[in-house]
Symmetry: C2
Subunit: 416 residues, 2 copies
């Protein structure tokens, strides 16, 4: 790669997005890029001229590069900052002004390849930039690196960031199950888990049992319509057998007519720039209130909130390694001339039935703005748990631990 | 010790209470106790005849004891189960019936020493039992082992359970600080932390900066009355300088007239059997709403909820070691004839200014039902942060990590 590269991070933070940044950086350098720039706050920073030279940031010239990269892997959230910016449609009135500004910035930095690490909306950005680039005969290559804790990107076996969030969820719920059963009184702990439209994260609650201990009693996913009568009847039957139940519920669970539980909770649903409901909250506390009313037992709601996307100290080593590999593969893809694509993961089984993961590139247009749901067959017929197929799928993604760099009893992170 | 021992756990769970159970068990065995019994669900289980022989539970005779104890140390919450049971006053009408039943159970198991691991209310139980024992000339010894994440027990430098909760809070906030600053827009993340009457836990948020990274911008404790105008003015000034603020707030924060923020949130305040407000919630979301209204910026509330008391995977090794030591010391104290006392921690400084912790016994009557607050001098004059003295006090308590026993990517725990 004779020209420079630029990389940005976009959308919600994860514990693995910085491992992908490490992968893009080391991959681009390995491919010979003279400079690798970072956009501060995604495409918004690029438009504002807010970029940094990553060699300087990581102290590569001072021999600090290796330590910086190791710390970057252990740093949650988006090291470069993020944004939720939607580029205009190609035929919008303001399209030319925006795209011309982007390409002028890229030309001024002598950029040959542009990498964007993110989810659905970030892939929409890659899609639009690569199409505009083709229209103006730009030689700049645009490659997407997948990232989302939601695991709902199309065309890939899984998405980096999911495994670490899933590990946090599984480990925390295994601990909360010890807490939930501590008093000899009937009670239901309801744990609310992220996942706007897909139940991959909520399903990870079932992995809590993977070490041989208990698992949640019920797991509710957006893919299976919520039936209040059936749900309460099921809890009643379970409470006849034991105290201290635990229910995992996705923030995106809805009834058959599409009403979100959190809408019933009247807790406010905020929209982001993409018209998505950006901030759902309240499904757990609504359920918990219904349980107290209908069953007359103790119930408490716990929201895992942003902890599930930023708990680097509990990241999955497998996830971080794959996140970094995706970044490296993106640099290689651009170097070999690919553009308008995203790095995706494949999964094959070896002779022992163990999964072997690979990477490939997929056309970005097939990824942008699509959503991959949990297959109905991976949810139990009653809609209140996941099957062994789900567990077999998710378990390899939460394997391994990467020790934090502890100082004074607190994990260290890399800050820009 | 020629007679048997019995041990119970009471009150809210912590990540360290099982290390104290390990200490009592190994201490009692080291002192020669033929049997060590465990009460299921505290004193309520004892009254119901629900006890277990811990040699059998830990598999000590099968050579599994060491592994069981190692796993017990890594298991959060109360392994034996817990209760919130208040024994009657000595002069109450039902007193004799209750106390006679307790002592009859103890005599039937040939108990020489009774250990109760818990907080204020559990020490009230030890106080009442030892006084009743004296009244009936019982030879049974009653010793309390301190436990509470709140760190508010009197007569001791600190309380086991606090260090692990404080480490979880500090580490999680160091990660949330990465998340809170990710977008280039003014925003305030409000993190609600447990601590009914004392701000030790909320103050631990300030330890997030101990590894050299950022710390919360403001830390609000129950000990400093909340002044809304001053608080909002301070945030306004901070937002003029930077985006992405983080405020840590104790669930017990109140205004000068004693009104809890969570009462203003109208989120329901439940009382427990001791007449305490057992379940405060909503201070963070109330503050967050006020910030949005008054400052017009993004704000989100995060409740650390029960995670802060059960996150064993992030326990402080120093805390677990001290919790176990307190249990062992309790067995030794009973063996040497002490009763009606609690194990307390002392702190002295060595020649290098490093803290050296010791244990001693303190009269239980001085502990029961008292509360130890954060000294006003350890809170900044404006009441919105803690001082270096607080940090110097708390930091030694969060040192060290104890690796979980991982299996299939999830921590293992010991279940009864």
């Amino acid at each position: 790669m004779k020209k420079n590269c630029i990389v940005g991070q976009s959308g919600g933070p994860t514990a693995a997005i910085n491992a992908s940044l490490a992968g893009v950086y080391t991959g681009a350098k390995a491919c010979g890029a003279p400079h690798v720039y970072g956009m501060r706050y995604g495409i918004e920073g690029l438009l504002a001229g807010n970029t940094v030279d990553l060699d300087a940031v990581f102290g590569a010239e001072n021999g600090e590069g290796e330590r910086s990269i190791a710390l970057l892997r252990r740093t949650p959230s988006s090291f470069l900052g993020s944004c939720r910016c939607k580029l205009p449609a190609q035929d919008a009135a303001d399209a030319a002004a925006t795209y011309d500004a982007v390409f002028a910035r890229l030309e001024s930095l002598d950029i040959g390849a542009f990498f964007y690490i993110g989810g659905n909306d970030s892939m929409d950005t890659i899609d639009k930039l690569s199409r505009w680039g083709a229209r103006i005969n730009s030689s700049i290559r645009f490659v997407g690196v997948p990232k989302t804790i939601d695991n709902d990107l199309a065309m890939t076996d899984h998405t980096p960031g999911y495994g670490s969030a899933a590990k946090f969820i599984a480990a925390s719920i295994s601990e909360m199950l010890c807490d939930a059963t501590v008093y000899e009184v009937p009670s239901v702990t309801v744990v609310e888990i992220m996942g706007r439209d897909a139940g991959w994260l909520a399903g990870a609650a079932a992995l809590a049992g993977a070490a041989g201990g208990p698992a949640p009693d019920l797991v509710l996913l957006p893919e299976a319509p919520f039936d209040e009568a059936a749900f309460l009847a099921r809890l009643r039957a379970l409470l006849a057998e034991k105290n201290g139940l635990l229910v995992a519920v996705s923030e995106g669970v809805r009834t058959a007519d599409g009403t979100l539980l959190c809408e019933m909770a009247d807790s406010g649903v905020q929209q982001d720039a993409f018209g998505h409901r950006a901030f759902l909250s309240g499904a757990g506390s609504w359920l918990s209130g219904r349980i107290r009313e209908a069953l007359g037992c103790k119930s408490r709601a716990v929201e895992l909130s942003i902890l599930q996307r930023c708990a680097s100290h509990l990241a999955s080593a497998a996830d971080l390694a794959q996140a970094e590999r995706a970044g490296f593969a993106a640099a290689q893809a651009a170097d070999s001339g690919e553009s308008g694509c995203m790095i995706a993961f494949t999964r094959e089984m070896d002779a022992d039935g163990a999964p072997v993961f690979g990477t490939k590139t997929v056309p970005i247009a097939k990824v942008a703005n699509a959503v991959r749901s949990v297959p109905r067959a991976w949810i139990t017929p009653d809609g209140m748990n996941v099957t062994q197929e789900f567990i077999g799928y998710a378990l390899p993604l939460i394997q391994g631990e990467l020790d934090a760099f502890w100082e004074n009893g607190v994990p260290q992170h890399l800050h820009l």
